[in-house]
């Protein structure tokens, strides 16, 4: 027996590390809630697992009304708040007063830079993240006035300015370059129907360089695999039609292990559960469901005697960025050849229209249980974990993750989910969200039609 094994045998008496301590504290809190729930009579159980729609809506609408135009001018978060709140309300299947909608559209118009893109507030420098938030918020509001307020030509010019020679994007003038910048840029371009070869040039190379040895994707090359960046990188690769360049099996394995005993997801290995990863990590599964053909193709390359194995990840790719697999015409997604060009701007639309042919590979029930029992705040809104304060960011992404989970086994996109896909009363069912852009699907379809004109 080695000294390490002796240490393992004595591990019960060894002092726990900080990671272990923090994990045990959270597990205790969560399991206390689960035990309490399990021991309740049936009626009380139903009440506890109910999505507190009215409370959440009140929290959200109050939050939206408080975004007064005379708000502190240093606040650069307002487009984000608009998106998080409006999207959450839309997921709950509710609407916002016409007057409030108009105020939002007016406000965001004032955030729009004359040279393109949206800043954090009127007169502020345009920024990719706030552009993403503003565009998504305006799509969520929907309608002619909202959608026509977006100056697409100028947005395109802004995106071109943010484009770097490496292929990645810079968040703003003199801003950081990372995978999130790539996602916000490509997502906005795709949803506004202004995506072109110039914008996607070398983006795939950059994102590939961010897939780490763990299988997940990091913010920058060399950094740690992280749920948020994994979603951003993965979604971007799909949107630029290069998803087959990623090591999908490796990515799946990493993200599968991000779901903990609590039912929710953690952002990184050995870190704590956080409800927002219900979307970032849960979303990765929603994307994988529609990539089963490419996943299968990659798995075929495993195995004895081939020697080729799964060395598909970055570094093994040819430097000119050609696809691993040429005969991809029969795949709806991933890879192109000369006789079968893909319309970049249709990828987002085709992705959701295509039926999912495999089930989601995580434990959907446990995720829903975590969100409903541990992330809901009694006074409305949702939060990271028990003991944390509610906020609109966690409200948005918990509900987005919940929606994905509820809709994750709808083969026919028009048919509603079966009751056994929805934890708690069927009234818990949320509106469906687009897994690439995270806007409610109906609003996405309207925008897609609106922006279809060049």
């Amino acid at each position: 027996m080695s000294s390490a094994e002796r240490a393992n045998n004595n591990s019960m008496t060894a002092a726990p590390t900080k990671t272990q301590q923090e994990q045990w504290i959270v597990e205790n809190q969560v399991f206390q809630i689960f035990d309490l729930f399990a021991n309740l009579p049936r009626n009380a159980k139903s009440a506890l697992v109910e999505l507190q729609r009215d409370n959440h809506l009140e929290y959200l609408t109050r939050g939206l009304k408080r975004l007064d135009p005379s708000f502190c001018v240093l606040d650069a978060n307002r487009p984000w708040l608009c998106y998080w709140i409006l999207h959450s309300i839309a997921l709950l299947g509710d609407y916002v007063e016409h007057e409030v909608e108009n105020n939002v559209v007016d406000f965001l118009s004032r955030c729009q830079d004359p040279n393109g893109g949206y800043g954090g507030g009127p007169g502020q420098l345009p920024h990719l993240a706030t552009t993403y938030a503003a565009v998504n918020a305006l799509i969520t509001v929907g309608g002619e006035r909202s959608l026509s307020s977006i100056n697409r030509e100028k947005v395109y010019m802004f995106l071109k300015r943010m484009k770097q020679p490496s292929g990645a994007f810079r968040m703003h003038d003199a801003g950081e370059i990372d995978v999130r910048a790539c996602y916000t840029a490509i997502s906005v371009a795709s949803v506004l129907n202004i995506l072109d070869d110039e914008l996607i040039q070398n983006v795939g190379d950059y994102i590939l360089s961010c897939q780490t040895y763990e299988g997940g994707i990091s913010g920058e090359p060399g950094a740690e695999a992280h749920g948020g960046y994994t979603f951003c990188g993965f979604a971007t690769m799909i949107l630029i039609n290069e998803v087959n360049r990623l090591d999908l099996a490796g990515l799946l394995d990493w993200v599968a292990f991000r779901q903990g005993r609590e039912g929710g997801f953690q952002g990184r290995t050995n870190k704590l559960v956080d409800s927002c990863y219900s979307f970032w990590q849960g979303g990765a599964f929603a994307l994988l469901q529609r990539l089963h053909a490419i996943l299968d193709e990659q798995l075929v390359n495993f195995g004895p005697q081939t020697g080729v194995a799964s060395d598909i990840s970055g570094g093994e790719e040819s430097s000119d960025g050609t696809q691993v697999d040429d005969k991809t015409c029969h795949f709806k997604l991933g890879g192109t050849n000369a006789s079968c060009p893909v319309n970049l701007n249709s990828i987002g639309y085709n992705f959701v229209k295509q039926p999912g042919e495999m089930e989601a590979l995580y434990h959907r029930w446990s995720l829903q249980q975590y969100i409903l029992l541990c992330a809901q705040d009694m006074e409305g809104g949702l939060k990271d974990k028990p003991g944390k304060r509610r906020d609109f960011y966690h409200t948005c992404y918990s509900l987005s993750g919940l929606s994905l989970s509820q809709h994750s086994w709808s083969q026919d996109e028009d048919a509603p989910p079966l009751p056994n896909a929805v934890m708690g009363p069927y009234a818990n069912l949320l509106e469906r969200t687009h897994p690439l852009f995270n806007v409610v699907l109906d609003q996405y379809y309207d925008a897609h039609e609106f922006f279809d004109t060049p």
Binding site: E5, N77, G303, M358
Partner: protein
């Protein structure tokens, strides 16, 4: 300029100082544009703030500093920036300044990130910045030791494992992944045996063979490690998962491997199967139920090997 009452959401954002927030920009508390503080003095006058907001303040500062390059070269300014950087919003700006200062700045930057990491050893931006410093300004000499220190404190610190990988693959002072593999495998195996339930070293071990899967399959140390952990009959999910991956990549299982797996099946919950990989999947479905769907899918995708 009167600040109107902040909405509740913004209040909750401002309560946690970006400095202590471990997570990167997914959550706006660490977003460079997070509205969580008022700008410290000395600062450009109001017009710049109103024109550009927080990020613009640093942009205009960027412009001012360009004109005063000699002044930048004083450590005084660097100390000011160190205080300001606590709010994390000008990490990118800090990089720009450090680049101007050259390699002398490496030590200071590494010290600075070390301070943040001593309070939060997984701080995402601190690690990102540290990696940038190493690549742009150097200072690799003590980095592997630093990783060892952090891992001695907390063997579960995945950020430290990631940094270790970064060092062994990118340090100009070391020979690269293949040259470092043997010593790193020993180090990692020790870590796994101490805590087989620790996911980080298992992924690190796999990473040591990145781009060379055949070596991973053929290295007896790896399969033996799995069997050793399986024999303890506790904390063996990662050992089983690794064994499954090895089998999928062509590992010819030894009789010992088959016996060990059969012993795990003897609890009666699992049907014995002549296909070892299938048996492993069955066991995983039972001992790792949160991933039952994943293991079932893995089983359905097993190569049709003998």
């Amino acid at each position: 300029m009167v600040r109107t009452r902040l909405s509740q959401s913004t209040i909750s954002l401002t309560l946690s100082k970006p400095w202590t927030t471990s997570e990167p920009s997914m959550s706006p508390t660490s977003d460079p544009l997070a509205p969580s503080i008022s700008p410290p003095k000395p600062f450009p006058s109001t017009p710049a703030i109103t024109l550009y907001g927080i990020s613009g303040v640093w942009y205009s500062r960027h412009l001012i500093l360009t004109c005063k390059l000699n002044w930048i070269l004083s450590t005084t300014l660097l100390r000011i920036i160190q205080k300001i950087i606590r709010y994390d919003i000008c990490r990118h700006h800090r990089r720009w300044v450090a680049e101007k200062l050259g390699t002398d700045a490496a030590d200071k930057e590494l010290e600075f990130t070390k301070k943040i990491l001593s309070a939060d050893a997984k701080h995402y931006h601190a690690w990102s910045h540290r990696q940038w410093v190493l690549l742009a300004l150097g200072g690799w000499e003590d980095e592997l030791d630093y990783c060892r220190e952090l891992l001695e404190e907390d063997i579960f610190n995945n950020s430290a494992w990631n940094q270790r990988y970064f060092v062994i693959t990118r340090s100009p002072l070391l020979g690269g992944l293949e040259a470092m593999r043997e010593s790193e495998v020993s180090y990692t195996v020790e870590a796994i045996l101490a805590h087989p339930e620790n996911e980080s070293p298992w992924r690190y071990l796999r990473g040591l063979y990145k781009g060379d899967t055949q070596s991973w399959v053929n290295d007896h140390q790896v399969s033996l490690l799995c069997l050793r952990v399986l024999n303890t009959k506790s904390n063996f999910v990662f050992a089983l998962s690794t064994l499954l991956d090895l089998l999928c990549h062509g590992l010819q299982p030894s009789q010992e491997a088959k016996d060990v797996v059969a012993a795990l099946e003897m609890s009666g919950t699992v049907e014995p199967d002549s296909d070892l990989a299938k048996s492993v999947c069955f066991i995983l479905e039972h001992v790792d139920p949160i991933r039952a769907n994943y293991w079932r899918w893995r089983k359905s995708k097993l190569p049709h090997a003998t």
